[in-house]
Symmetry: C3
Subunit: 348 residues, 3 copies
Amino acid sequence: MIFTAKQIADFLKGEIIGNPDVTVSSFSKIEEGQPGTITFLGNPKYTSYIYGTKADIVLVNNDFVQDKPIKATLIKVPDAYAALASLMEMVNQNRPQKSGTEKMSFVSPSASLGENVYVGAFAYIGENAEIGDNSKIHPQTYVGENVKIGKNTVLNPGVKIYQGCIIGDNCILHSGAVIGADGFGYSNEKGVYHKIPQMGNVLIEDDVEIGANTTIDRAVMGSTVIHRGVKLDNLIQIAHNCEIGDNTAMAAQVGIAGSTKIEENCVLGGQVGIGGHITIGKNSQIGAQSGIVSNTKEGSAVIGSPAYPVKSFFKTSIILPKLPDMYRQLNTLEKELAELKKRLTPNG
Amino acid sequence: MIFTAKQIADFLKGEIIGNPDVTVSSFSKIEEGQPGTITFLGNPKYTSYIYGTKADIVLVNNDFVQDKPIKATLIKVPDAYAALASLMEMVNQNRPQKSGTEKMSFVSPSASLGENVYVGAFAYIGENAEIGDNSKIHPQTYVGENVKIGKNTVLNPGVKIYQGCIIGDNCILHSGAVIGADGFGYSNEKGVYHKIPQMGNVLIEDDVEIGANTTIDRAVMGSTVIHRGVKLDNLIQIAHNCEIGDNTAMAAQVGIAGSTKIEENCVLGGQVGIGGHITIGKNSQIGAQSGIVSNTKEGSAVIGSPAYPVKSFFKTSIILPKLPDMYRQLNTLEKELAELKKRLTPNG
Amino acid sequence: MIFTAKQIADFLKGEIIGNPDVTVSSFSKIEEGQPGTITFLGNPKYTSYIYGTKADIVLVNNDFVQDKPIKATLIKVPDAYAALASLMEMVNQNRPQKSGTEKMSFVSPSASLGENVYVGAFAYIGENAEIGDNSKIHPQTYVGENVKIGKNTVLNPGVKIYQGCIIGDNCILHSGAVIGADGFGYSNEKGVYHKIPQMGNVLIEDDVEIGANTTIDRAVMGSTVIHRGVKLDNLIQIAHNCEIGDNTAMAAQVGIAGSTKIEENCVLGGQVGIGGHITIGKNSQIGAQSGIVSNTKEGSAVIGSPAYPVKSFFKTSIILPKLPDMYRQLNTLEKELAELKKRLTPNG
């Protein structure tokens, strides 16, 4: 992208103060602004940076009043951060979109590709797989037999989807994500494990984003289900037969054991672990590194391993380093009390 | 698969109650049963579901007595769950097996492939690698030079095996597993790290299953060893020179530091971390999210970070939220006792 | 490699005791020494092994005095461990280096490759990408458009680098590492997440090693920066806009949330989690499994979740299992004290 201040102001319906012909080609934070970039001033806390920024254009709120000269061209808009976001969105959507099937890809004759689909080199699309319109199957991805992928979905390079899994519309899967590997299920006879075939699949609904190297296992029977609008960060593990509710978000490295249900609109911090066969009620917030071993009510806010209410956790955390002193103090008191009692008991 | 109730009853030597001609094509849980599926009723807790299930066939124990009409065809067998498992196993084993070398794969002229081997498109088999009979090397996998792979082993799409590693018979490696990357070894001179070449390999014995995106590093010298029957879930880290004993199982996201030995038949919960140069005695159970910093005796059952016996851990966990109250209570008692002593000391 | 004892002694300028013609082809630890290997005796604790080792050559310190016959050929050097390391380094550097572009790779016509570059089969090098001299792009890797890679850098099989990221000289990236996937950034309107385009990149300086399946997300604006000499183990997550200082090392499965800065020469144990927008002062040591929720001063040594000083943590850990007893003891004391006070209060 290369834009002039005038083009940007026109797009945002903003007012230019300064040189309308200056050009920018990328975005920056105001405290790190480099020549050739556009930035924004939203939070007044950062106002001091605007007088020294090397960025060539700064989006500012309409009520911004400058009290010193500014080298950058300003564009005044009602909400500088929202304007920047819409500009980023526009640039992002105008990126050239690949389509067509690159040479050195493998597409089974029985697979069906919608309109305007991209299949990159070294991608493998198995028997009877279906890819919806406008979806982008980047290089080195694997789409197993009987997999169905909706419209406008992006599989970044190296995504692997095992046979029979279903992915909705408008999903983004990042590199290294593995969908539909076998769940971890065995029977144990005399100390030796025997594999239980994992005959189900993974079902991912629309508008889901799945981070790099995240793994979602197929169900033993039925489906592991990721509902609409779920956002999963990198390196997350979702075990077989889990169900993740609409618009639930999880930070990196969370692990969910088998058959657990996370209801809608929950937020899980990084490295949380949740046991198997548990239900987390909707709108719950689970703090980073928590360990959950039992059902959690709607709207819970917990942290710790095992987890308990957040407020209580942080109070306890402040006291924990004093525990050795408490231990000594307690034993001293016990002795002193015993002595006192002895002293008060004439014939003790 | 499409089977009639009659075919299934014949295979299981069970007795049909209902329509012998109804067909099913997949498996379901009784509480989620869909048309076209077969399910089972094992645990009496789920009996109520059988009267409403939409599944077309239900496997039931011989002693099951129905007290209302049931729409599904029943098949009576001695053990409904075991019968379902054997049916799943049969279906699984009768899946069409690929063999032969797909075009657009790379097989070094010096590599040797056994009988009935499958090499998928975009797989890379390096110099002097050996693949045993019936092994399946799926698309996009990497088998480095001098790697040896046994018989009946499956490398799912995207598995990477660095040079010189050895994999046994009947193993299953899931997508994204990385075997034999360099161990994390450096010398530090004046704050700068210098890499210590990692000259060993990884040795995986027979009947091992390794989850998606799990990493097992090569030894600095000698071998990192995964013994027979070990089962590793997804996203696990096994560092250089570790040794994991027969039939040990680890849930997802466990991390084992270098040169640690886990003896046979241990079970590690999810997200456990074990320090370096430690031995975990056989038959030990390590609770989820535990941190282990010293040797653990045979048959231990521990949890926590650092870990201690399970029973004690859960008792402590119940008290922890009361710690701030205990702190206040203790200080109050100290004051009261001091006052009391003062009161009792005439010349205090 | 196959070397005689004489060749090795010449290389190391050491003195041979025993057969100069014996040959070895790999390295071993003295306690696991196998025929055909060379080992070393550094730590006197292991001296007893030298009399029974099956290794054919043992490097020993000049001051080593044998008091029984030894079957192996000895080579005396000033520092046995350093000699072994230099021998490993020599062997490692003399491995045949691949160069040239293998068939069935994809190199965009607009990409530029330096001298002596290797591009393996099924590697994908996008538009305008630049690869520096002597770099090795192994099979099945993905180098997105406008990516720049320096000299002498190795991308192991399956590495994925999204568009626009920059990698320095002398770096090693292990299989499955994902560089530049989108940061985890959304705005939330009425419970529904809207993606914030991630317009920045990842900048990795020289001499960095990145472990298998580690993920480093691109910045929302600007760069996620990994400075010179950083060493990251496997399965680590570095979120968008983080900055990791020179020569900092992290063990496996660490997770760093967005916009956090780890200064130079820090060491993070395995499975550490660090919150967003935090600064960890230089030369800090963070114990395994710690959770960091606030800034940490230069030279800190902390552990725990939330973390506090190491010494205090281990003292508290010893007392923790006694907490239920302390609780009972405290309540008993409270009762006894109340009784005592009552007894001493005549009209109580």
